[in-house]
């Protein structure tokens, strides 16, 4: 095909996705969509295979393809122009019930030629806990409304009875209605723009370009895989919920131009809602694969073809109905993300040509905290703490990780300003900053995570409540690479204070008055002078910490992200009172660390 036309059509497909995302954000207007960028829009071919993935939450790209295919199977022969379908059943294709897919056929001159699909995390889905994450759920039936596929718009007409039924089952029907409206507007834009493209270039030419685009991605990805070493790399992740620990174990095998991700050895499904279904696991491993291995390749079906996944039935990464899955996106799916990031990182780092593409794990551990309650302006507020989108970057083979720099599976998120949150909720932040020593030590340091504390402030009901699905307080999860340490684990603390306690101006956990108590899972109050403290994980480090440039360690101490003791004990760097490196003592410290490493283990501890 003419390379110029091909190039223009490819660029335009990308722009169509982009325009549809803009529409989605404009209409939605919710914080999780607009700040967290917790959304996805992609285009699919007539058979439901991925054609053009956008920049959103990337673990949705393949799941939405399966959603398209599920709709095709269910509605074969009844798919009309202008229809819009809804699907959110995790056992059919979705990740969890609150991430609703809207899937819409695109027709041209009467023929079905493509699909668009999008999702947002809706404000509520009627699960037993508000906000969609239901830490207290015991099965899928307690996780709210779920559909394996229904027709929401019939030839452009809203099926009001269906919509009313859905809205009748959720806590915030107006906001959910708006979420759905935003996705419908998004589908409309994708359809209109695709229509214009098809009219300008004709359906056969566009179809040929799409086929060529998929073929090209496959050829490029296979060529890249051939350039990487053959071998197997393993990783392991722990999910701890209230003292129960589940492992996700991954063996990634690369042979010639194929990749197999095998989760054999992972633990059985949990009674808690951290499980994920197999479509979710598949999405979870593609989320880091697209940006790490295909940063310069169009994200489509061609990238999916060389990849195979083995996920044992009944395991935490392929759970059996009716196991609960509402926390999957920050549970097993995220662990699949992390495990795949580690094995891909190891493979890239094993290649001298691709070593500069390798990264230790970024932000391995979301913490879903939904706060809800009467606000200071006479209304009612519900919303996520957007700090969960502000993870830490993993270290790379050539540079430190980015402090509070985000995450790989959702490359363009952001967190809300403190003033935005305090304006909408009756709470006050005591501090929000980078957490010292949280970045995984290494020759290149992992990015730091953060820490924050909040108290209720002038709440009309004396406080608010929050739903917390907080794991990762027991195990570091952002694995290091090539000898780098993992980033520090999460920490969630409820500080109980007397009703007349003087809060003062605490700028760290220890300075907050009261008695600390770890919390992680369930629904809790935030009242009186009590505080909620959260520290979130740093990114993994890269390389041996004792070969880190001493000046870089000194700079980290100066800017407060590494403590004196960590500089001394982990990096083997001694600093003079001026903050400058004491080279002589540093050499001695590093020599002592080497000796200790070589000593018999009993003696070293």
């Amino acid at each position: 095909m003419d390379p110029m036309t091909f190039s223009i059509i490819r660029h335009r497909l990308f722009r169509i996705v982009d325009e549809a995302v803009i529409t989605l954000k404009h209409v939605s207007g919710s914080a999780i969509t607009n700040e967290g960028h917790d959304l996805m829009v992609s285009l699919y071919r007539a058979d439901g295979t991925l054609l053009m993935g956008g920049v959103g939450f990337l673990h949705h790209l393949t799941s939405a393809a399966e959603a398209c295919k599920a709709i095709i199977r269910r509605f074969e022969g009844q798919i009309g122009e202008g229809d819009v379908y809804l699907l959110n059943d995790p056992y059919t294709a979705a990740l969890h019930t609150s991430d609703i897919y809207l899937v819409a056929p695109i027709h041209h001159e009467g023929r079905l030629v493509a699909w668009s699909a999008c999702f947002v995390h809706v404000t509520d889905i009627g699960a037993m806990n508000p906000g969609g994450f239901a830490p207290q759920a015991v099965d899928i039936f307690s996780e709210g409304f779920s559909s394996p596929g229904l027709k929401l718009l019939d030839r452009g007409e809203m099926r009001q009875d269906v919509l009313d039924t859905i809205l009748n089952m959720v806590r915030s029907p107006e906001m959910v209605s708006l979420d759905l409206r935003s996705m419908i507007a998004c589908c409309n834009v994708a359809r209109d723009r695709m229509g214009a493209l098809l009219t300008k270039y004709t359906a056969p030419v566009v179809d040929e370009a799409c086929a060529a685009l998929v073929e090209q991605s496959e050829q490029l990805f296979r060529a890249r895989l051939r350039a990487l070493p053959d071998g197997q790399w393993q990783s392991r992740q722990y999910l701890d919920v209230q003292g129960e620990t589940a492992r996700v174990v991954l063996t990634m095998t690369k042979t010639d131009d194929r990749l197999v991700f095998d989760f054999t050895g992972s633990d059985p499904q949990s009674r808690h809602s951290i499980n994920c279904t197999k479509w979710a696991a598949l999405g979870g491993l593609f989320a880091p694969l697209f940006p790490l291995l295909c940063y310069d390749i169009t994200w489509n079906e061609g990238v999916i073809r060389p990849v195979e996944m083995i996920a044992p039935e009944g395991s935490i990464v392929n759970c059996t109905r009716p196991a609960p899955v509402s926390v999957a996106t920050v549970g097993a799916i995220q662990s699949v993300n992390n495990a795949a990031c580690t094995t891909i990182g190891k493979m890239l780092a094993a290649s001298t040509e691709y070593r500069d593409q390798a990264t230790a794990v970024w932000h391995a551990n979301h913490f879903a905290i939904f706060k809800f309650g009467a606000n200071q302006r006479g209304g009612y507020s519900i919303g996520i703490l957007t700090e969960t989108f502000a993870g830490a970057g993993g270290a790379r083979s050539f540079a430190d990780g980015v402090d509070i720099g985000g995450e790989i599976p959702n490359p363009i998120s952001r967190m809300a300003n403190v003033e935005t949150v305090e304006g909408a909720f009756p709470i006050r932040y005591l501090f929000r900053r980078r957490a010292v020593d949280s970045g995984g030590p290494g020759q290149f340091r992992g990015g730091t995570g953060g820490e924050m504390a909040i108290v209720q402030h002038r709440a009309p009901a004396g406080g608010i409540d929050y739903v917390i699905s907080g794991k990762g307080a027991r195990h570091p999860m952002s694995e290091g690479l090539a000898g780098g340490y993992p980033g520090a684990p999460n920490s969630y603390v409820w500080v109980h204070a007397d009703a007349d306690a003087d809060l003062g101006a605490p700028d760290r956990l220890e300075a907050i008055p009261g008695t600390p108590q770890p919390v992680s899972w369930g629904v809790y109050p935030l009242r009186g002078r009590d505080a909620l403290y959260v520290r979130w994980n740093g990114g993994g480090g890269y390389g041996d910490p004792i070969v880190r440039e001493p000046a870089a360690v000194a700079a980290d101490v100066t800017s407060g992200v590494v403590s004196d003791s960590a500089a001394r004990d982990i990096y083997g760097v001694a600093l003079a009172a001026s903050g400058a490196v004491d080279l002589t003592t540093t050499s001695a410290l590093r020599a002592a660390i080497r000796s200790a490493r070589l000593a018999p283990q009993e003696a070293s501890e």
């Binding site: 207007g29 409206r181 507007a185 407060g560």
Partner: protein, 707 residues
């Protein structure tokens, strides 16, 4: 040009990244143009050279011209340059204890990806934040706290402030201090007290308060604004002071007005303390110039496109209103200041054309050969094929008539480079490759303009397109047709458009009061908010010598649907002070605007509507230039006909014999039908079959699609 001692002049000079452009407007309606290279970091030097280059053809010395100049209007890239080259002051930041990292953490990933291309965003392993303007060890937190109602929760620890100032000035050797406390825009007392303490402890230190420079919510962006302003503050003040004294030495006795990013002018004395206001003021002036022409020609909806050597910039005027940037940035730093939205991509005449070795997709830019070494055909040592080389291959540039014949273009070199970089990798002949690249450049620009119009809920088909800059004319008719704009206009002043914009602007002051009010609200409460701002504004304009008859007060209000995040600035059209009916109309206007911007069905009425900010634009009207109008004559352009040669005709898809015309010999009323090219002294206007170009009464070229 005959000089008469009775004439007086308005002089406007715009300092851009490459060129410093001057336009001199005589009281007789005469327009004179000057151009010189910009001279960073000593920009004043280039300003004088540029004015000189306008004066010489007028038969005047620089001193003659300046002594008869009644007003000097100025725009400069000095602030952008200080930030981009990290040439500003050593700066410290004093902020609320516990929030010392806010600036460096950039709301998480936001500062890591903002300002990157889509391709870069998809490659996170290779992304980082920009190096900060304030090192982390020059940030000091002090105990203090104000809450969301503006009430003090914790008093300011003044001893800690004094210690912080000593630490920053003595140990960190800072020359400037930014101050940014939580909620200071509601209660600036603590920040103001810090200013006093600095003045007492370290007089001479440059101080910027966030509550002064950006009294709006959002501590990251507000603090970043204060930091940028502190960082570039002294450079800006020194530059404007120095320029004023240099102009005075050469005979200029009047005031200097300085362009702001929001498209209004400020007296230089005020502009000197608002460095952030000058960011991207040149491109803003370009949009103001387009608006002036649009108003003149009766076009309220204009897309202003400027394409020079390295970038393609586009701004939008809708219903005679300017569009403001939602999240402005300089380099990769966010700031908050009203700024006309100008979006750019790295596509210009110097953009390098290539085929991606991995995907084999041909592309234009964003890498540029710049002014040096420049395109291969300039023969200045450039070896990589650029868009300009492509233009030569498809017949849009005359190898022997470039820049009045001063340079002979190297056609063979351009052919060889395009062959090597594009044609051979794709198995095409060089001409076919060049045509393909031209199509891709058009498609990229089309996609960009569609994106920025769609982002605002606008339809390009309702707009006319103004094409400025040296490269735009070669593409504008083609991408204008693809966008289906009503017509494409290449203005007579296209080569100095930003300077032209300077002389068509008014003095403008922007005031904002942040306050949340539900609707319906008592009109008296809204009026009281505006009355306070108006009193300040009128005193300010009075001090600038603007009498009440030339003062204009424009009210607008930010509204939003409760529980949604998108605010829409809505103009108050009703008489002010507002009656209840006027306030109701404001809410209706907001609803209409919201639906237009964000699409049908996007409004969320059920939750109610609230007002979040009150904005006053106080204008001091400046005299408008009166452009000379010529009678339109016959359509026949024979007098300007120079011959024929093969040129690309996109309509037929290949090279065709096209007419070649000399712009300087065209007369108003003349019409040229495509395929054809019109050579102007600075650019080429390319017409494809079906395009008709007409020279209008102001000597603008107006292109319409006739078939």
């Amino acid at each position: 040009m005959q000089d008469s001692p009775t004439l007086s002049y308005l002089v406007a000079t715009d300092v851009g990244g490459t060129c410093t452009d001057t336009i001199v407007f005589g009281s007789d309606g005469g327009i004179h143009i000057g151009k010189a290279l910009s001279t960073p970091p000593d920009f004043a030097h280039g300003v004088l050279a540029s004015i000189q280059s306008a004066a010489t053809p007028m038969g005047l010395t620089l001193e003659d011209l300046l002594s008869r100049t009644h007003l000097f209007v100025h725009g400069s890239t000095v602030v952008d340059n200080a930030v981009l080259t990290r040439d500003g002051a050593r700066t410290g930041l004093i902020t609320t204890l516990g929030f010392e990292d806010t600036l460096h953490v950039t709301r998480g990933a936001y500062g890591r990806w903002a300002g990157l291309t889509e391709g870069q965003m998809k490659h996170p392993v290779k992304t980082d934040r920009a190096a900060p303007l304030v090192p982390r060890d020059a940030v000091v937190g002090v105990a203090e706290r104000v809450d969301c109602f503006g009430d003090v929760v914790l008093p300011l620890d003044e001893a800690a402030v004094a210690a912080a100032v000593r630490h920053l000035v003595d140990d960190k050797r800072v020359e400037a201090i930014a101050v940014s406390f939580l909620w200071s825009f509601l209660n600036p007392a603590h920040e103001a007290r810090v200013r006093d303490i600095v003045a007492a402890a370290a007089p001479g230190t440059y101080v910027t308060l966030s509550s002064d420079i950006a009294p709006v919510p959002g501590e990251y962006e507000r603090g970043s604004t204060a930091v940028i302003n502190a960082y570039a503050g002294r450079i800006t003040r020194n530059y404007l002071t120095d320029l004023a004294s240099q102009l005075a030495t050469r005979g200029y006795g009047g005031a200097t007005m300085v362009m702001q990013g929001y498209g209004g002018l400020l007296p230089a004395t005020e502009a000197a303390d608002r460095a952030v206001g000058m960011i991207e003021c040149g491109p803003a002036a370009g949009v103001i110039g387009a608006k002036f022409l649009g108003d003149l020609m009766g076009d309220a909806d204009v897309i202003a496109a400027d394409m020079g050597g390295t970038t393609f910039k586009v701004g939008v005027i809708q219903g005679g209103q300017l569009e403001y940037a939602r999240e402005p940035m300089v380099d990769r730093f966010h700031y908050i200041a009203p700024k006309i939205e100008v979006v750019s991509i790295g596509a210009g005449g110097g953009s390098i054309v290539a085929v991606d070795p991995v995907t084999r997709l041909p592309s234009v830019g964003p890498r540029s050969a710049g002014a040096r070494p420049g395109p291969v055909c300039y023969g200045q040592g450039g070896t990589e094929a650029t868009l300009t080389d492509v233009m030569l291959l498809i017949g849009y540039m005359d190898p022997d008539q470039f820049l009045g014949g001063s340079i002979t273009l190297d056609r063979a070199g351009a052919v060889a480079a395009v062959s090597r970089q594009v044609a051979e990798p794709l198995g095409l002949d060089p001409t076919a490759a060049a045509i393909g690249i031209y199509r891709i450049a058009c498609a990229q620009i089309t996609d960009l303009i569609r994106e920025i119009t769609v982002e605002r809920g606008l339809d390009p088909r309702d707009f006319v397109l103004h094409a400025f800059g040296g490269t735009c004319g070669m593409l504008a008719a083609a991408f204008g047709e693809e966008l289906s704009v009503r017509r494409v206009i290449i203005p007579y002043t296209a080569s100095v458009n930003c300077a032209f914009g300077l002389i068509s602007a008014d003095i403008a002051h922007e005031y904002t009061t942040t306050r949340t009010l539900g609707t319906p609200a008592p009109a008296a409460e809204v009026n009281a908010i505006f009355a306070q701002m108006e009193a300040r504004a009128r005193a300010q304009l009075h001090a600038e010598g603007i009498e009440p008859g030339r003062q204009r007060m424009e009210w607008s209000v930010d509204l939003r649907y409760c529980r949604q995040v998108h605010e829409v600035t809505t103009q108050v059209h009703a008489a002010t002070p507002l009656e209840p009916a006027g306030l109701a109309r404001l809410v209706d206007d907001f609803e209409a605007l919201y639906e237009r911007k964000f699409g049908k069905g996007s409004a969320y009425r059920e939750a109610g509507i609230e007002m979040t900010a009150f904005r006053l634009t106080a204008r001091g009207l400046m005299p408008r230039p009166v452009l000379t109008v010529e009678e339109e004559g016959p359509a026949d352009p024979a007098a300007a006909f120079m011959g024929q040669r093969p040129i690309l005709d996109l309509t037929s898809g290949g090279m065709a014999n096209g007419g070649i015309y000399d712009f300087t010999r065209l007369r108003p009323g003349n019409e040229v039908a495509g395929p054809a090219v019109i050579h102007t002294p600075i650019t080429t206007i390319a017409l494809h079959s079906g395009h008709l170009a007409r020279m209008d009464r102001w000597r603008n070229i107006v292109v319409t699609t006739v078939s």
